[in-house]
Amino acid sequence: MKHTKGRGRFIFFCLSPAIALFVIFLIIPTIDVFRMSLYKWGGYTDDKTFVGMQNFSKLFQSDKFYQAMQNSILLIVIVSIITFAFALLFASMLTREKLIGQNFYRVVFYIPNILSVVVISAIFSAIYDPNNGLLNAFLNLFQGAGSEPILWLGDQKIVIFSLAGAMIWQAIGYYMVMYMASMANIPESLYESADLEGASRTQQFFTITIPLIWTNIRTTLTFFIISTINMSFLFVTAMTGGGPDGATEVILNYMYKEAYTNSSYGYGMAIGVVVFLFSFALAAVLNAVTKREHLEF
């Protein structure tokens, strides 16, 4: 009896510093965001007015909010799917195939992840430049130099996809390395026996590789959602500033604009709450639908 009591106390003292930090730096700020979303507050005075759910009702009537939300969801979908496909493909090529310069590719693919978003934005702004850009110059090889330039960052129908292009380029390396790590753990014997039984490379990929790294894939799906929401803010801020005329406004961008530029800190926090709940819900849904029986090798 005395023994277990002592042990309980020991565990308590070991855990308490971590729990204290967790509460102070994570729980309290999160609760604070929820609390602030119920106030009308400019951000710099003591003058806070409690307005209840008013911020939320205004939010759900705002066209700009829906536009920003649409852009964010579009980016989450496109960036996640394409990055996922390419990262998986490259990871499997680099682990399963005998390529010359494998390590070189591994490094090259990972480099965009080390670069800062500002640098990447500058690179892509140069690529997308309508007059001297790499992309238009390349297209001119086929169309002839006199053709009308495509405004990658100026045409409201294209600009969000241009942004997605930069984000995908940036993200592939990171996820590729994650997939490669778990693919390397799959025993070679499984592939050998599949080879003997006459399974093709594609069949091996879908019936051995994917099921065996499924836990890893599920984890990365949550990462996709969180990182796309966050990274899209950085990319938009550095590349287009939400323009032209709000065409690339994403949800965090809108939140920042309202909280700081429009002196509506409380309203900004209401947007923060919606983003919080949205990303949580989306991650939960994805987790639920991708649930499979756990396979072991």
Binding site: G42, K58, P130, G154, G243, D245, S263
Partner: protein
């Protein structure tokens, strides 16, 4: 051997402890002496925060040094940064404010607007009647009349000045004077001449118009509104008067901008953001577009950019609506203000008054920063002489901006009025959609006007 090692270790430990003790003693004594010096000398510190603009940070250091020379017991603590909002923002949130902030309204982060909306500023009306340190005139006597009667400096419309005007700059259309001379084109005096010129230039593969970002339409629009309806109409628009955007005057202004959008270089919206806007300015230097709306700072901003041979900056007010009508040029000026919770407001006011002295003005002028001080424009040379003499050549000055309101969530009048211009150029929105968006924003802001 073991003993020796033990001895050495013990000795080093003892020494270490003694060292620590000595250190703490030292720091005690030094802090004590610091305190006594503070009391006897009574040095007071003004915390001054400013946005680093095209004029650079050095100019502030020089002015602060000369103020410190005049007031040996005052120290000016400068924080000059290109992202000043991010530097001073966090400490202000926790209640520590600079004594003076030099940051204009209209910045992307809108910090100054936030302070105005929150009634968080110190009344500076008494600064106007203060004598400029080292001189005999008062601040008001030195200032060009009109600068402290605007909706920007007196945001609450109660005749009290809360923001002091600092550097001003006439805004208008910039062009390559050499190109006009080469082609034998005259600078258009009316909008009809403007369109005729646009067609001529188009035939030579030059666009009529470019703009850095849609944010630059503020000065353009304010001047245009003055042209179509005069100052009274302008004031009504700035105060969100009901139905004002449905009047014939407003319609005329909107039509002009819609037409101008069709004459705009097509790539402009693609570069119309804060990272690429210089490419839109470059169009003028490369003779790919004729005019852009801008302020005098553009000359310094583009000073290192490549340019067409013989390039020479030209500057004009907006063309008039009709032959012989008024031509307007908007006067952009920066402001400084004292947060309501500043610790040294009285000293800060002294410093502000000093900034209008001849001594300070000449330091600023060397960096190209011109204050609204009487007869200042006659002391300038070079390009600046041309720019600042625009009002001597018949152009009228427009001042002011959209009136300050209590914050209205999700509504931005500048996004509605200026931001949409991008969509007019790309063809994504029509004039009707534009008017509807402006009217909606204007209607939403009217009840929130500061009383």
């Amino acid at each position: 051997m073991k003993k020796i090692v033990g001895l050495v270790l013990t000795a080093s430990l003892t020494l270490g402890l003694a060292g620590c003790g000595g250190g703490s003693n030292d720091s005690n004594s030094s802090s004590a002496s610091g305190d006594s010096a503070g009391k006897s000398g009574d040095t007071r510190t003004i915390k001054f925060a400013a946005l680093e603009t095209a004029y650079g940070a050095d100019v502030w250091k020089q002015v602060a040094a000369s103020f410190e020379k005049l007031n040996p017991d005052v120290k000016v603590d400068l924080t000059i940064d290109k992202k000043i909002e991010d530097v001073i923002g966090p400490s202000m949130k926790s209640g520590e404010f600079p004594d003076i902030v030099h940051l204009a309204v209209g910045q992307p982060k809108g910090l100054t607007e936030t302070f105005i909306k929150d009634n968080n500023l110190t009344d500076l009306t008494d600064v106007l009647s203060m004598t400029v340190p080292g001189e005999s005139a008062t601040v008001k006597e030195k200032l060009i009349p009109g600068f402290t009667d605007t909706t920007i400096t007196n945001p609450y419309g109660d005749g009290k000045t809360y923001l002091m005007p600092t550097f001003y700059s006439p805004c208008g259309l910039f062009y390559n004077a050499d190109l006009f001379a080469q082609k034998g084109w005259g600078v258009p005096k009316t909008w009809d001449e403007m369109w005729a010129l646009g067609d001529k230039a188009k035939a030579e593969g030059i666009a009529l118009f470019s703009y850095p970002t849609t944010g630059y339409f503020d000065a353009f629009f304010y001047a245009l509104l003055n042209e179509v309806g005069g100052p009274e109409f302008f004031t009504k628009v700035m105060n969100y008067t009901e139905g004002i955007w449905q009047t014939p005057e407003a319609n005329q202004a909107l039509d002009l901008v819609v037409k101008l959008a069709s004459y705009t270089e097509k790539t402009v919206p693609a570069n119309g953001n804060k990272d690429n806007f210089t490419k839109n300015q470059q169009l003028i230097l490369d003779n790919k577009a004729l005019f852009m709306p801008n302020g005098t700072w553009v000359v310094g901003e583009m000073s290192k950019a490549p340019r067409a041979e013989g390039f020479k900056w030209g500057f004009t007010a907006l063309p008039a609506i009709t032959e012989g009508g008024d031509q307007y040029s908007y006067t952009f000026f920066e402001q400084m203000w004292i947060p309501a919770k500043a610790q040294n407001a009285d000293l800060a006011k002294q410093f502000i008054a000093y900034l209008y002295s001849d001594e300070a003005a000449s330091i600023f002028a060397q960096a190209g920063a011109v204050q609204p001080i009487k007869e200042m424009s006659s002391k300038l040379d070079g390009d600046n002489k041309l720019f600042y003499s625009i009002y001597d050549h018949g152009a009228k000055a427009a001042m002011g901006a959209f009136a300050t309101t209590d914050p209205v969530e999700g509504v931005s009048i500048s996004d509605a009025v200026f931001g949409t211009v991008d969509s007019l150029v790309t063809g994504a929105k029509t004039k009707e959609q534009w008017v509807e968006a402006i009217t909606k924003a204007s209607d939403a802001l009217r009840p929130a006007l500061k009383k």
